[in-house]
């Protein structure tokens, strides 16, 4: 006999509100239904009532963790409509900020995953590492979360002390290689909770259109930084970690290896940071009529913005935001199928869901 267990929208296992109705037979999940939209904010439509400066601040609030990525994607789309090309130094600063944000996001996720595994000491270690990244982000931008770094044609703040970032990168790399990766891959607590759990096959990953680390952990080698490079990524040498297993361990490994790759990118970007201006001249922009699209590889995967403008208008005619979690979250249905009920919180967490992005 099957029975339904509603999980959420307010539940200790969920960080933010969404609802998962789990259809179970005994302790085994045989199907599930997801419900979102509990905090839907209508940001896309709100953007149509704001000018471009107000909209940058608005888009920064789509996500609390990838706030830089959202304004970067939005500004890249608007740069297409205003025919602006950011100077080389701004492109490098964008890479540095994007990779710092990836580090912050991945280390935060590793901490939360450790907590859900019942591995509290690892949670503390990850959050201590995360603080080092947050300190650097705050030192560059003056803020810990919404950095106000992007503008049309470049960035608002320069990086004046690359050496201090390098010091943090070295400390992070050392701790990841010495503690986090070995423990996550060899400790019995971690492997017994993650291996073979929440599997998403390569075929299912492709048909669901999943993105980012979830796709790469299911054997799909997709990463916009390589496939369609933006900012200064074409000048960076790095690898795209891919794992074929599609389980929680694979997602954990992909993110851990991506932390090391981000450190590699940061070293290169800091070493090659070119001199010069950090944004184009002028504050007034002439928007041409049309639609511009921009894509960026956020920590959780591809973010895409479509921005439509009519010449002479103060506000955009339309802004559409496709966030990574919106693409990945429907695949949870397939990941929890056949799983033990007790594993479902960790499986859900393994996609690093952002409900703020989803309820944009």
């Amino acid at each position: 006999m099957s029975y339904k267990i509603p999980m959420g929208p307010y539940h200790p296992a969920l960080e933010e509100p969404y609802k998962l109705d789990l259809i179970c037979e005994g302790e085994t999940v045989i199907d599930s239904k997801l419900h979102i939209g509990f905090n839907f904010r209508g940001i896309e439509h709100l953007a149509e009532t704001r000018n471009h400066i107000q909209d940058i601040a608005l888009m920064e609030r789509v996500c609390g963790i990838c706030s830089f990525i959202h304004t970067l994607t939005f500004c890249r789309a608007m740069e297409g409509l205003t025919n602006q090309t950011p100077p080389p130094r701004a492109q490098y600063i964008r890479v540095i900020m994007a990779e710092l944000e990836r580090l912050h996001s991945h280390v935060l996720w590793a901490g939360i995953a450790a907590k859900l595994m019942g591995f509290k000491t690892m949670f503390m270690t990850c959050f201590e590492l995360r603080e080092k990244v947050m300190d650097i982000l705050a030192a560059i931008s003056g803020n810990r979360v919404n950095y106000s770094m992007n503008r049309i044609g470049g960035v608002n703040r320069d990086i004046t002390d690359p050496a201090s970032i390098l010091k943090m990168v070295e400390a992070l790399e050392l701790e990841m290689a010495r503690t986090v990766i070995p423990i996550f891959t060899t400790s019995r607590t971690a492997t017994s909770r993650c291996a073979g759990i929440g599997v998403l096959t390569t075929e299912k990953a492709l048909s669901c259109g999943v993105v980012g680390p979830v796709a790469r952990a299911s054997g799909l080698p997709q990463d916009l930084r390589k496939a369609a490079p933006y900012a200064a990524y074409a000048e960076m040498d790095f690898d795209v970690p891919v794992q074929p297993a599609g389980d929680v361990t694979a997602r954990l490994l992909v993110r851990a290896l991506e932390i090391m790759e981000s450190c590699k990118i940061l070293r290169q970007a800091l070493a090659k940071l070119p001199p010069g201006e950090i944004h184009t001249e002028g504050e007034k922009f002439i928007f041409t009529t049309g639609t511009a699209t921009a894509r960026v590889e956020a920590p959780r995967g591809e973010v895409m913005y479509s921005v439509s403008w009519k010449e002479g208008s103060r506000n955009p005619a339309r802004v559409h935001v496709r966030t990574p979690t919106f693409a990945v979250m429907p695949a949870i249905r397939w990941m929890v199928k056949g799983a033990r009920l007790a594993d479902t919180p960790l499986i859900q967490a393994s996609i690093d869901p952002c409900y703020s992005c989803t309820d944009r």
Binding site: F40, H45, P330
Partner: protein
């Protein structure tokens, strides 16, 4: 034959692709949407999203479908004469949530599928245009 030429051939389209801002565009009639989904499946292209545009006055809607083909961004324009278009959910399950979202926001009907509410609107109301709701506040 390039992948873009093969898509045109599968769809029986003679108009050229237009490259603009890094996106390769093709304008299609709404009747072609399911053929398009099948062609994208054959090429193992990754579905990204659908963007709905409400046109001025009573001109209806325009939909933009996006797929990624090995890093190439493809865009397909559909001008809707009526408030409906065939659903491609059965061919491409990645379209599930975005079809439901557009249905709830604009009351556009994706024919041939059932909807479960995404709860974007209180009381599961569909067809209440969010743009108009924001503008009148």
């Amino acid at each position: 034959m390039t992948p873009l030429e093969s898509i045109s051939e599968k769809l029986g389209i003679t108009e050229p692709w237009i490259e603009k801002g890094g996106v390769h565009w093709l304008t299609l009639g709404a009747a072609k949407v399911r053929e398009l989904a099948k062609a994208m499946n054959e090429l193992h292209a990754r579905f990204i999203t659908i963007t709905a545009y409400q046109l001025p006055k009573d001109e209806g809607f325009r939909l933009e479908y996006h797929w990624d083909l090995d890093g190439q961004l493809l865009g397909f324009n559909f001008q809707l004469a009526a408030h409906s278009i065939d659903s491609i959910y059965d061919l491409c399950e990645a379209t599930d949530w975005i079809e439901r979202e557009i249905h709830e926001e604009y009351s556009l009907d994706f024919q041939g599928r059932e909807y479960e509410p995404l709860l974007l609107r209180q009381g599961d109301t569909t067809g209440v245009n969010l743009r108009d709701a924001v503008a009148t506040r």
